[in-house]
Symmetry: D2
Amino acid sequence: MIRVAVLGAGRIGKIHAANVKNCPGAKLVVVADPFGTNAKDLADKLGCEHTTDASQALARADVDAVVIGTPTDTHVTFLLEAVKLGKAVLCEKPIDLDMEKSLWAANEVKRLNGKVMLAFNRRFDPTSQAMRKAIDAGEVGAVRQVIISSRDPGMPPRDYVAHSGGIFRDMVIHDLDMARWLLGEEPTEVFAMASNLVDPTIEEFNDHDTVMLQLRTASGKQCHINCCREAVFGYDQRMEVFGSTGMLLQDNLRPSTIRRWTKDATDAREPLLNFFLERYQEAYANELQAFIRALQLNAPLPTTVDDGVQALRLAEAALRSVASGRFEKV
Amino acid sequence: MIRVAVLGAGRIGKIHAANVKNCPGAKLVVVADPFGTNAKDLADKLGCEHTTDASQALARADVDAVVIGTPTDTHVTFLLEAVKLGKAVLCEKPIDLDMEKSLWAANEVKRLNGKVMLAFNRRFDPTSQAMRKAIDAGEVGAVRQVIISSRDPGMPPRDYVAHSGGIFRDMVIHDLDMARWLLGEEPTEVFAMASNLVDPTIEEFNDHDTVMLQLRTASGKQCHINCCREAVFGYDQRMEVFGSTGMLLQDNLRPSTIRRWTKDATDAREPLLNFFLERYQEAYANELQAFIRALQLNAPLPTTVDDGVQALRLAEAALRSVASGRFEKV
Amino acid sequence: MIRVAVLGAGRIGKIHAANVKNCPGAKLVVVADPFGTNAKDLADKLGCEHTTDASQALARADVDAVVIGTPTDTHVTFLLEAVKLGKAVLCEKPIDLDMEKSLWAANEVKRLNGKVMLAFNRRFDPTSQAMRKAIDAGEVGAVRQVIISSRDPGMPPRDYVAHSGGIFRDMVIHDLDMARWLLGEEPTEVFAMASNLVDPTIEEFNDHDTVMLQLRTASGKQCHINCCREAVFGYDQRMEVFGSTGMLLQDNLRPSTIRRWTKDATDAREPLLNFFLERYQEAYANELQAFIRALQLNAPLPTTVDDGVQALRLAEAALRSVASGRFEKV
Amino acid sequence: MIRVAVLGAGRIGKIHAANVKNCPGAKLVVVADPFGTNAKDLADKLGCEHTTDASQALARADVDAVVIGTPTDTHVTFLLEAVKLGKAVLCEKPIDLDMEKSLWAANEVKRLNGKVMLAFNRRFDPTSQAMRKAIDAGEVGAVRQVIISSRDPGMPPRDYVAHSGGIFRDMVIHDLDMARWLLGEEPTEVFAMASNLVDPTIEEFNDHDTVMLQLRTASGKQCHINCCREAVFGYDQRMEVFGSTGMLLQDNLRPSTIRRWTKDATDAREPLLNFFLERYQEAYANELQAFIRALQLNAPLPTTVDDGVQALRLAEAALRSVASGRFEKV
């Protein structure tokens, strides 16, 4: 039985805590959150202990593994505290918004032989898993082009935008990880263009709401990513892997399979599941299970701090490309 | 070159004449219609001769084959005239609304060794052809159930209903032919139920607008047909063949492949092509080509008067079943 | 907090117990199963008590509600025991395979003012719920035809067939309930035909594996149901509601949304979710929640013993129809 | 009646000639091709005159309009000959592979007040038309992103590649025209990347087989195009227009609507229509009709030489971008 502490009782912490609770082979020991009521409410609901002191929670002798779902600027601190105590860690991405700090933390993890998994949840989505397995099984032959569409249902609050690190580090970073994972080869160059078509006032933060990227690997494989902070029909998450002998598509999810036929339209489906918590519900549960299973088997963790660093590197290159108008080396 | 006379310059005659004009190996010689202007207009458009006298047209020495697209009650007359003169015939269905007269005509055709093809256009639809070929290739294994949905876009004019012979002989007959063709085995029993849910006033003609049928073959294969005289989203034509190793579905056609996404619906497609002339445009052309090709090769015609008789027999059994509430033998 | 005992720790009992465990407002107190290990294993996993004595479990003072997931021939016994003790009941269908016993039990429940909900899980499927809501909202206008396709992934074991009560009482009964629910009007007549196309040896039990039904309501609304005990592509569950102003379709579920494109096929989706436990996972959870919510609000239960009786009545009429070849009154 | 000469009796000339023949208001007078047999065969089939001398054909007094379907390097010559004689022209694209010559020709056409329509056939595809109309009707609000996927079924012959002008001028140019047309605003900057993933030996011609582009307009609208010379599943032509209030998708066409279900896959559709002649059959006919209709009404032609020049300009900018690794101004 892997005994787990969950740090953070906010939106994502709640997801993780419930998944730990339902995960075979895992035991939820404690949840920590500086807002004591949040921690208590979640603990009461799931039947575990609670505290306002994350450092204390992760240090407990009866805790083997730590799930970090706290604000981004605390990730590195808790990550390294846990690693130094020999605890396994599942850490929300990004490691940090700052590249240097991220690199330093990644090196520390390696120096200390830390067991750290970065929470790239989308890789654990059933359809993404099916795509990866199909590629591995040779179904599409040699991958040539990957196309990723990724649009949020609506602009985040202005305050969130101000502290998000910008659309590339905050939002596109997920798609950059998927690009790496699906291409099966490291992108070496990035081109990006960025517009403000939803809310021009966020230019004030030097941020954008509508972007397109192109990536290329050393062998010439290509990837396109398009993102927008707002899509009226819901959280738009589609992917396409085109190869020498076939193609794989990933469609969106909807609340049900109902299709409506009227005099104006036929076969109309519902708007998409609203946002990532709904869309990737199953992915979050699978991610947690993969983490626990790897610990049980003492197997390599499916994602690492290096994955976190590399995705951030691609985001940084995209930002440089927006400024330079050039294809930027990673 | 097969030289062709087209009898009838109405809705269906126009289709046939244009298809003859465009068919490799065929030559449109003359169109005949008692309404002289109709015949002339069509002839002028397609560059052929015209006449008001159908009997004269079919008797011409420079005519090898006759396409009969005249009103139903004239089919038998022109059919037998043509056969007696040794002309090949493509005749619109039904042979006649009366069972006895149909049987007599079919026997005459056989006695005279006539070359007569009944125009069951749906069999020549590309998707229906693909289904039949897939069944023949063993793709679904042994056929178990066939499901046919067939709904018209709107009630025909009251006067049409009055002289149509009723929904079973006029509309369902097409689906009964598809049932025979897809089952690959003759239905031996029919059950039918009929309601008036669109226009109750047609009960006056002892007719119905909404019906469901079930058919069974000697070996126990099953078929369901559902029909309605009105569907607000257009001409609904779907089929399903379910077998021991697979299933085949036939979807509807739409004017384009556009799909619309809004805040209320995603992936919405257009309403269906309006009615049979649009939906089966390609089927009519293929049917004509199949007729001409069979004549050129002196090969058996793909459909026969017996097919016409058998479909009518099933329609009659359905009518009896509505009255008796019993599974009626064909 | 509604305190719940779950009777039966088999396939369906496990589902119910886990759903109680996860249901807000419910508390899983005890699971009972004559196979003590089954009960113990399930109780240990979910953290509740266990017993081999169902009667004792349902009688506990700290139990408010009972979920009955035991073999069919014990339903009536436990149902009435619970009702007499004033416990609310969620009972798996059917009430009993015998019509008279079912009627008697239903009357007893009513005489005793029992709170009993019959577990027609499909009504609680998200897509079925969306269809019912759309009908209620007038989206399709007046319902004209309902089409239900329902095929199991494979023949049940021979021994199961022998004691199942036959395909109509065991399998079609679910579709008959959906028919009633979607038509919104009681079917008054049933026609059924039945074949043995999968495994002819079950004729020995006077049972069939492939059936088709047609139902009609007093106002002339029509319903078709087709069922088969085997479909190679998985558990086939589709529905169609056709009305005066529109149509609603329900599609199947698959493990993921992946679509494959190769030189032989495009847009190919995965085989269907295997069987009812996978397909209706969400429906079972929703059903349990609806039960608990109704108890909390002291609201009418969404399904009743009368629904169970009525579905059985339709199944009996179908059986009579197979024998008589007639449209049978319900 | 608009009297038409068709220059070129090759693959595309045959299409145009047949469409003229079937176009209401048009009369096919003569087809010209230096290969006399080609011209004669086509003329015999369609019932018109023929010649090996294109200049003579276009100069005939009984010719009002000229359709140019000859090899690219002859376009400018015949175009200007026809314009100088006051004939209307429908000219296959591109005007010329050389930018300067194209510009000069375009200026000549304008100086001479020529009526010249460039044959951007895809704009006349029913789905593309439906998309343009939906955009014009405000269905998607303000356009934000356009995504175009465009893949050929297989590498063209080596000799074709050698003289094609390269993938950007030969293939991507169609997509660049669609981009301009759907964005509704001129792209001002282009970024392109190019790989050789299908046939590396064409690098010898300084050509590529797999490319991705990004375009931006002055107001920040974005467009992505991906192309490949080979797709095993057929001619892949998809488009997406994403806007502030909705999205429009264009799907591929297949020979039929059949969908196959087996134990390995469900809902599988057929491979795509093979190539542009099949895929855009209806578009070619609509294009010809639009040309004739505009002449009849003396209305502006729907596409102009400027459209041809502008698409070529974008292709040239893409080529420069591949070399520079920069976002290139158009």
